[in-house]
Subunit: 308 residues, 2 copies
């Protein structure tokens, strides 16, 4: 039951995102873990089923943060009312026009800063962050190279305008990446780590920028990797090539940049200049399996759970 000033929301869609893995662990990070027995956090689209707050009425759809549950309560200030008649599916507010899209926009415009003609490489490129990074790079006049798992995802990347796509599961991955980046790499948008990073690293150009917003290849690791220790090789390359490696979480930039992002990106999405792909798990009971599958790369596009 909502109290005065609150609404009761029925969760329609739950967003599944890699950052959630960190909240399922008590390793220190930028946000505290969810307690065992607590409600796992997550972005949602909810329908107002009861309102004791001004400005929201039953039937309204809102972007909320109800997490992995069927019902939640919220104050109007903590949600954003969505317009189902705006010509875009409301689910875009969890994907290309939501946190993942904004992560791409903030990292690319504030840290990557590609200049026309430069080469931008992004991994997990068929996901909602990566696909947006590549298309934004093209809009900014740069060359976009996507890395994804499997030929189907690579074909998709080419179909939405990437200049080249490379399959990191291929035996010829390193050679393919070299062929796709004949002028080296000026911006590497890092959200994966692991063997993708190893292939990208030697191809970084002097003054390359590396916005780092995820390391999904390592989220399940519990022990240090075998030697040799390559920290000094990394630091030496940063020195000799004047590289910039910058970690970030999108909310650092939200207050200053999100209005600009929505204003610019909404027409791009509506006009088809910025395309996106969604995939759905059916029912909250299937969320855990879908989440684990996403960390292993089984999803294809922005992963959502249809809750009700």
């Amino acid at each position: 039951m909502p109290r005065d000033g609150q609404v009761l929301l029925r969760t329609r869609y739950l967003s599944l995102d890699p950052y959630m893995r960190g909240r399922m662990s008590d390793v220190p990070s930028y946000a505290p873990p969810v307690e065992v027995g607590g409600v796992m956090v997550g972005g949602t689209i909810g329908e107002v089923v009861e309102s004791r707050a001004d400005g929201l009425a039953p039937g309204d759809l809102v972007l909320a943060y109800s997490g992995w549950q069927r019902y939640g309560v919220a104050r109007p200030a903590a949600v954003r009312k969505l317009d189902p008649d705006a010509g875009l599916p409301v689910t875009t507010a969890l994907g290309v026009l939501g946190m993942p899209g904004f992560t791409a926009y903030a990292g690319l415009t504030q840290i990557g800063r590609p200049r026309p003609g430069e080469t931008v490489v992004v991994a997990a490129a068929s996901g909602p962050v990566g696909a947006t990074v590549g298309q934004l790079a093209r809009i900014l006049g740069a060359r976009a190279v996507g890395i994804a798992g499997g030929p189907e995802k690579s074909a998709y990347l080419r179909s939405i305008g990437f200049d080249a796509a490379v399959d990191h599961r291929s035996a010829s991955f390193e050679a393919d990446l070299a062929a796709a980046t004949p002028d080296g790499i000026d911006v590497y948008f890092e959200n994966v780590g692991g063997h993708v990073w190893d292939a990208v690293f030697p191809r970084l150009n002097p003054f390359a920028r590396i916005p780092l917003c995820g390391l999904v290849a390592h989220y399940n690791e519990t022990a240090p990797a075998a030697g040799p220790d390559r920290v000094q090789a990394l630091m030496t390359a940063i020195l000799k090539k004047s590289l910039t490696v910058r970690g970030f979480i999108q909310n650092e930039f939200a207050a200053s940049l999100e209005p600009e992002f929505l204003q610019r990106a909404t027409p791009w999405v509506r006009d088809g200049e910025l395309q996106y792909r969604e995939c759905f798990a059916e029912g909250l009971e299937n969320a855990p399996e879908a989440f684990v599958g996403m960390l292993e790369g089984h999803n294809f596009g922005k992963l959502l759970v249809r809750v009700s």
Copy 2:
């Protein structure tokens, strides 16, 4: 013999700087190596002994780049005339007001960007870069913590205004660094690497900036370090703490920033707000031994060779 438009310079002072180690190796870097049998590069102060160029006359002192030799020829556009009556030793043009001082200024103001009250840590802090970094940090309102080898150097750092100094050769180095940085580290000006980096790394605050202009602890390494591989631990920290690691060579900023630096820093040096210390090797024949000693930390202050 100088040709038309050139001057003949007798080298008075040769600057010894850690970057020279890279030019003595054929490992790829930001500048090509010096050929075997060629003249080793280096900043110099030269006296004009013969002039076939306008604007320079015998007896004039100039900042030049003659390298490790007793005589060199240069065009006036490649040198800067020094004023021996300006109230400062001309050798400052190779140190606190030269390339090392400018390295400190560029890295701290363009990358480190300390805010008042933040903690700036610098290693090799009694050297010409590190001593300038710490004093500039104080001028900018930050707290300056210097790391150096031995109690004599630590005492010197306190005497020139560092808030704290830590001896990296002490058995209690890590605990001493923790005590000297009770609020963590917001800017670490990295020019050393090795065990100093290992002690600094866990104390970096969220959003810390790491201008990286040298790794002198590693310049003589030829083999990778023993495992485990700590690259992912480093990348994970960069992600979770939103760190910035930025390699740089001072000449990236020279055209845009050096006039401002000289205009601001010259009065600071003259007024004693920005202090410096020099040490001299006598005679070009002693330059190699002095250089090797510098890489091992035996010098104390800006190292120069008195050539003639």
